[in-house]
Amino acid sequence: MPKLPVLPCLAGMGLKPDFYSEALVLSSKDIWYEVHPENYMVAGGPRLAWLSEFAQKFSMSFHGVGASLGGLDPFDKDHMAALKSLIDRFNPVQVSEHATWSSFEGRFFADLLPLPRTRQVQDHMVARIDEFQNGIGRQILIENPTNYMRTTTELDEPEFLCEIAKRAGCGLLMDVNNIYISSVNTGIDAAAYVRAIAPELVGEIHIAGFEADLIRGNDLLIDTHSAPVADPVWDLLDVAIAHLGPRPVLLERDGNIPEFDIMLGEYNRANKALGHKPARLTSKNTLAKDEILA
């Protein structure tokens, strides 16, 4: 497998318009940012202007949600062209997508749907990832899905994903929040899952918050990204870092976005898990000079 591009081995943050101004004043030595490129597939205007500001200063990661890598429909040419155009313009360090499908017979579901874990689907995914990587001119990472259904398909997920990555020449993005949620929802052993992943394949880790289903409570967790990272996910992050070694860790937050100070508190905790000294915040939400991370 070709060598993966390297984001700074620090905590990064999913970039949201809610805190563009505060995020922009941080030092590029201290943080990197990730965006969903689909949100920037626009003709012009403030979104692209903001992205340009960030891309000039920080290491960026593009985390796609629209490719439908596992789908049967042909890749959407407009989407792929728009993604390539953004990559060419903003030159992100890393590009990632999901090991799922989201489009069928022309309809886009705006959700990440599970794939049957069979040898046949592995072959399909390898071919699709190869086509996608060639189409955008970049090696990608693929993210493990959040699972809400138990399955009796042929392969367990680590085996399924690792073999796809090795054969397709892509890397893996290990979302430990997804693994934790899947462990609760489908009864798998989360720590065993993490330890079954080949470390050399993993280029990035994601952490996020979840919510319990309104009806079924804690028996069914929903991957909402709208809550603080839960303690079991922090614990699983420690397991992942112990197994993989330090990796760039992304803090995702897509809903109920709190004050930036609170986001930075979680960001500091992720850096601490990576073995970095926690940063102290100034009144301007900037990191103090004497707290530059090791």
Binding site: E38, N39, M41, V42, A43, G44, G45, P46, R47, L48, A49, V65, G66, A67, S68, G71, L72, D76, D78, H79, A82, W101, S102, S103, F104, E105, G106, R107, F108, F109, A110, D111, L113, P114, L115, P116, R117, T118, Q120, V121, H124, Y148, M149, R150, T151, T152, T153, N185, D213, R216, L220, I222
Partner: protein, 255 residues
């Protein structure tokens, strides 16, 4: 895999919630499959709520969800980037007129749509007043000039005078007292300048001037259209200010 995806698609699009449960070969236990349907609706709800925030503010979340369900069924998402999703939302708002009993809601919907289109529009080099002066210096009779509106500029002729209601919602300001509307036309301009979406109500003469230019008519024809709609007690100064005001606001692309 196609049989599984066909079944799963029927669950997610809501047409057959039990489709996966009946498809025993998928290997999936369908007990919690409804989560995927909920997630899909929730994602599209969020997109439409962002693109029609004033409609949501007026009708509330429960009724808005009803509109979203109807919209998704009639106009499912086809594009992977959803920034522009909801182009036909006003048709669903109109369809449910009997339920929401808000005859002015369509106009609110048009205003929200204009805001989104202005926000997402392409960047452009804008016409400056100096460009017109230069043209005149080169001997061009400005009366014969036609101008092109900048991307995202919208001229709206509303059936109800809802601009104040809408702009208050956009600015997160409370509406004071009970709103009583008397049906009559109101003209509104929505555009983006220096990456900010702007909006203001237009006088009939301003609207006629801009509408004529938008149709490709000459400056002379646009000014004549404005004069026709100018109240009798108005003088020439307002007419002469129409062009510099519009150019200064960044409403036209440069030559």
């Amino acid at each position: 895999m196609k049989a599984y995806m066909t079944a799963m698609a029927k669950v997610v699009d809501g047409s057959d919630p039990q489709a996966l449960a009946r498809h025993k070969d998928s290997g999936f236990d369908a007990k919690f499959v409804s989560v995927y349907r909920n997630n899909s609706v929730s994602a599209l709800y969020d997109v439409l709520a962002a693109n029609y925030m004033s409609v949501l503010d007026i009708v509330g979340e429960d009724f808005f969800l009803k509109l979203v369900h109807a919209y998704i069924e009639k106009y499912p998402a086809r594009q992977r980037a959803l920034n522009n999703y909801g182009a036909n939302f006003v048709k669903i708002v109109d369809k449910y007129k009997i339920d929401h009993r808000l005859p002015y809601l369509s106009d609110i919907c048009h205003l929200d749509r204009a805001w989104t289109l202005a926000h997402l529009a392409a960047d452009a080099d804008l016409l400056a007043i100096e460009d017109l002066a230069k043209l005149a210096e080169q001997g061009t009779n400005l009366e014969t000039v036609t101008l092109t509106l900048a991307p995202g500029v919208a001229l709206l002729a509303l059936q109800w005078p809802v601009f104040d209601i809408w702009s208050n919602i956009r600015n997160d300001q409370d509406l004071e007292g009970k709103i009583e509307l008397e049906k009559h036309k109101q003209y509104v301009l929505v555009w983006r300048y220096e990456n900010m979406v702007n909006y203001r109500a237009l006088e009939p003469a301003e609207y006629s001037f801009m509408a004529a230019l938008a149709k490709g008519e000459t400056l002379a024809a646009a000014i004549n259209a404005a004069i026709i709609d100018m109240p009798p007690d108005s003088g020439e100064p307002e007419i002469t200010a129409l062009l510099p005001n519009a150019v200064g606001a960044g409403l036209f692309v440069s030559f």
